[in-house]
Amino acid sequence: MGLLENKFQDNVVVASLDKILGWARSTSPWYFQFGLACCAIEMMSSAASRHDLERIGMMPRSSPRQADVMIVAGTVTMKMALRVKKLYEQMADPKYVISMGSCATSGGPYWQHGYHVLKGVDLVVPVDVYVPGCPPRPEALIEGLLKLQEKIQTERPLTRKLA
């Protein structure tokens, strides 16, 4: 610690505020609880006791106002795409999107002849992490979430950005 050594009492940790904020935000990304298709089963399984998403601080919230992460789990139809967009807009900043599975990423098995399937949720909302698989196993989803945590940790919310 050099100069700061023994300057404070016990139980005081010194770090940059940006880093502490990044650490706090990345270890409690509450996700928005909604599923669109079969991927939702894997998402539920990830949250259940065997894989237990609460280990990494993730907890399902049933309202977009309280959620930080939206996991788009499943096939997004055109009818649903408008609703997904609306729900994303209702979430408070900072917000993140995970595209889970082939369908949400590119249309999946419906990419050519599915007339009513949105060919990738990134046509409607910005996506941070893509998780491949059909459907992805809970381990794959957890890896995607850890990648998202890494991304959140590198953010510097207090540092002024160059315009």
């Binding site: 055109m78 795409a81 408008l82 990419w111 050519q112 007339y115 009513h116 060919k119 046509l123």
Partner: protein, 166 residues
């Protein structure tokens, strides 16, 4: 009753209503759509037929040359017999009277067939799309259907079989 006897029972009651169609299976009967509501009511109320259950309504597009068809699957709990009624529609103006008020389950069945094939069930009290969005264009399960280019500003990328994304 066998399907043959059911056909006879209907054609005895309604002259010229049963159309002979060799391409159908023996459990199917093609019926002229003009008097369909009366025939359906008769099929339900006649004690010998007593079709108290409408199991399914299916739309079929038989291709450019052929007509659009509606298939109705009926079952009688009382007599334990079944029949499939086929009605053909003109492709340009597909219309048939609704049986929604005879069998209540026909409500959603007819809405679904309307949604996918654009067959109009006249007399249906709430005929609107059931699966697609209300402002969807076209009838998706028709053979000449072409997908929309955009939907509410969302562009639908065209995908070619060999080249991939366009």
């Amino acid at each position: 009753m066998t399907p043959e006897q059911i056909k006879e029972r209907i054609s005895d009651q309604f002259k010229n209503s049963v159309i002979t169609n060799e391409s159908l299976g023996e459990h199917q009967v093609e019926i002229n759509g003009e008097d369909w509501l009366n025939i359906a009511t008769f099929m339900k109320n006649d004690p010998k037929l007593s079709f108290d259950q409408l199991e399914c309504i299916t739309g079929i597009d038989t291709g450019e040359e052929g007509p659009l068809q509606t298939h109705y699957n009926f079952h009688s709990m009382e007599h334990r017999h079944k029949i499939e009624v086929v009605i053909s529609h003109d492709r340009k103006d597909p219309k048939v009277s609704s049986i929604e008020q005879v069998w209540r389950i026909g409500d959603w069945f007819e809405r679904e067939t309307y949604d996918m094939f654009g067959i109009e069930y006249t007399g249906h009290r709430d005929l609107r799309r059931i699966l697609c969005p209300d402002d969807w264009e076209g009838w998706p399960l028709r053979k000449d259907y072409e997908g929309q280019e955009s939907f509410h500003g969302i562009v639908v990328p065209k995908i070619k079989e060999e080249e991939g994304w366009e």
